[in-house]
Amino acid sequence: MKPDAGNYENIKISTSLSENIQNIKNILDGSCDLLFNEVIISGHKAAYLTCEAMVSTSLLPELVFHPLMNLNLGANSGPNKVIEAMNSTLIICTEKANENKYGNIIIRLLSGFIIFFVDGADQAVAIGAQGFEKRGIDEPSSEINLNGSHEGFVETIRVNMSLIRRKMKTPYLKFEMFKLGSKSKTDICLAYLRDRVSMKMINSIKKKLEKTDLETILSSGYIEPFLEGKRRGIFPNISTTERPDKICSKLIEGRAALIVDGTPFVIIIPYLFAENFQTIDDYSQKPYYVTFIRIVKYAAFLISMLLPGVYVGIANFHPELINSTLLINLAESENGVPFPLALEAIVVLIAYELIREAGLRLPKAVGGTVSIIGGFIIGDAAVQSGLISTPLLIAVAFAATAAFVIPNLYQPITIFRMLFVVAGGLGGLYAIALLFAVVIMNVCSMEDFGIPATAPISPLTLKSMSDIFTRAGFQKLQKRNILISNLNGADNEVEE
């Protein structure tokens, strides 16, 4: 049977060199980035195939071509002897494999291997000599820190694995490779510490990965939904990071990391809600300052989500809550505004999101201009013309700024901020409290692999609380030896 693009994976290669080359050409439909050359190795006809710009042009002549051209096995050696010599006598490179099926050969060829066929041999040799262009290790733009490492993950999976391995020189660190995506064949690597992780969780992750039936996986976001628990919350319960040091700190707690080739964002499984308020800088600053910053972050979360809604609710339904001086000031400001307070707040919130989105998508220089025009000129003009009141604008601006303190939660906060304004406008603090209860319930019902997102706050694990609202000193933290699998409440086992 002739292999083609739809059916080639399990077909064995032929012993005829020309047939093999023709079959590869057929499978790839003569794609112009496929390069092949016929050579003679120790008197035998051979050919090598590569993908253009995927192999290292500097490594090939020195490590591969030179030893092979000088190979001399004698006149009576068969073609399989050449293959054998390539495997045993010649130390060409560390990554070598013999393949006899087109499926494996194609994957390796398209991953940057050089494939050698020898006429008459029933196997091909794949030599890892990848040399494609890649981004250098750089500081992650989304997780900038002050005192820690400035290394960030890149798009190449092997480099990312090495970044983790360099920081965790323990034999317990294990990497397991998978290929996902029927078309993209993306490399996915599951990393964990064998002595810390729950193997039930690892098996469960593998099962979930097996269930993915996507054609392409171009970023970690493609597989995140497959790893989430049955009850999907509004807040994220799987997170990503660009920082190798953060991944190492999570692995030590018994979590798993999933590295996806082609993206610098590595998935952390499972992820707790409280971790949205932690940064790697917390562990290189003084505990008292970190405690202060954590409290500021929790306050920022509540302010960013609730402030406009509570302002609308109190002004509409509970003016008795505010002291008289403030109340008179607010009343004066709101007096000249022609719209209901809730509507006014929603319009301002939408206008803010509009300006933010425009500033984000445009080139940096223009984006800044848009922000200035939107923020200063339109905002000032709207207040001057009496379309919106100054206190409301302050409340919205304050809430919007507070949201940037916890960037991971920006998306849910934005939506809930609007909903709280609607609730405050319709039912005052009563409706806000009920919506708040629903939000808490939503977060509390989230769990991944049996670990509640709200752990260790609820269910309460006192031992772990020293790194939630506060940050204890390392002398105390080193005694905790907390494993994520112990945070699931009533000694329930980690779920599959």
Binding site: F317, L429, Y430, A490
Partner: protein
């Protein structure tokens, strides 16, 4: 998935605090609030004794609710027991929801529709009940922490108004009122009956119950202490004395703390209503799901499958419909509900029925039972 003893303590205590908030103790010169402090102590001791059959049941049948244990004694018997508990939780839910709405309406939104308020509360609680006992327990843990914060904040704001002269007790004058106070506290402690449904979900029940009883006593005594020492004789003039405490609390930045008070109590009422809906949905589950095809029922597009799948929503709808006559001031109906949730039915549900279940020898063995144990979110499990 089970919940820890700490979570058991928190959910039961949240439900008890909810009852305390909406209650209006009948006080007078001969029956001051001080008496209720003693009444709470005696009532707690009685509850500690009455709860023993539940502890024995848990010991004997660690993974079964009362209705499931009853099904071991016979299908008809199980049906009767389920009906009794269903009626109690139904009445209890209506009373708590309507009391709360009356309280919110009376204190804050005099012009708003109580029925709409009830609908919103029940709709949110139905969502909460779908999160299962784990979700409810975790939520109540966080809300309880907020409540503790409030409990600290309020006395700090009220501290100048505390008058220890109000804290008087004369045994010769008030001894007759103690029985009323004991009965009052007991009737507000119906949440202990929730154990009938929650038994299979609880770990370390003894510790949980002990924690609840002690915690409840401490919380009630603290709140009563501040109500007595701050409000004094004014208690008998106001509808909601514990709420009025917040009105007294004056802070330099907030004029009054009562709006914050309502915020905390709405959260607690959400937990309480979610818990009651969860309990009702569990009993509906025991009515309509049979052992052979528990899971299939939910998938089947027949009426039983529908009832199994949406039992939490159905429980919510039943409570909402049951609340309508109360808002229409149908006095007889309200009296019936009060009678159902009175002290005698409570004793029957805490002591008599669990006692009977302990004493009667089962007709059927466990393998022949017709009940369908529910999982964490109340959905049936395959046997």
């Amino acid at each position: 998935m089970k919940i820890s003893w700490g979570q058991t303590f928190v959910i039961l205590l949240s439900a008890r605090l909810f009852a305390l908030m909406t209650c209006t103790p009948v006080t007078s010169d001969k029956n001051p609030l001080t008496v209720y402090m003693i009444g709470a102590l005696i009532s707690t001791a009685i509850q500690a004794a009455l709860v023993i059959p539940f502890l024995f049941l848990k010991n004997k049948f660690p993974d079964k609710s009362v209705t499931e244990i009853a099904s071991l004694k016979g299908r008809f018997f199980s049906f009767i027991i389920s009906i009794i508990y269903f009626v109690f939780f139904f009445s209890s839910a209506i009373i708590s929801v309507t009391r709360f709405e009356k309280f919110v309406g009376g204190a804050f939104f005099e012009k708003s529709s109580m029925l709409i308020g009830t609908f919103i509360l029940i709709a949110s609680a139905v969502y909460g009940s779908y999160s299962g006992i784990q979700g409810i327990a975790r939520t109540s843990g966080i809300i309880f922490a907020l409540f503790c914060f409030y409990i600290i904040l309020q006395p700090l704001s009220d501290l100048n108004s505390v008058n220890f002269l109000n804290l008087t007790f004369r045994a010769d004058l008030y001894s007759g009122s103690i029985l009323t106070a004991v009965m009052d506290d007991f009737s507000q402690s119906s949440q202990i009956i929730l154990l009938a449904v929650l038994l299979p979900y609880l770990k370390n029940l003894n510790k949980g119950i002990a924690g609840y009883l002690i915690g409840k006593l401490v919380a009630v005594e603290i709140i009563l202490f501040f109500a007595v020492t701050i409000l004094g004789g004014y208690v008998s003039l106001v509808d909601y004395p514990f709420f009025s405490l917040a009105g007294f609390a004056v802070n330099s930045n907030f004029e009054r703390l009562d709006a914050i008070y309502i915020f905390v109590w709405v959260l607690i009422s959400f937990v309480n209503t979610s818990l009651l809906i969860f309990a009702l949905s569990n009993i509906i589950n025991s009515f309509f799901c049979e052992s052979k095809s528990c899971q299939q029922h939910r998938k089947k597009k027949n009426i039983r499958g529908f009832l199994c799948k949406f039992r939490n929503s159905i429980a919510g709808l039943i409570i909402l419909l049951g609340s309508v006559p109360v808002f229409m001031k149908f006095a007889v109906y309200e009296d019936i509900l009060k009678a159902i949730t009175g002290i005698i039915p409570m004793i029957v549900l805490i002591l008599i029925i669990p006692g009977i279940l302990l004493l009667i020898r089962g007709e059927n063995n466990e393998n022949k039972n017709n009940s369908c144990p529910a999982n964490d979110n109340g959905s049936p499990q395959r046997l």
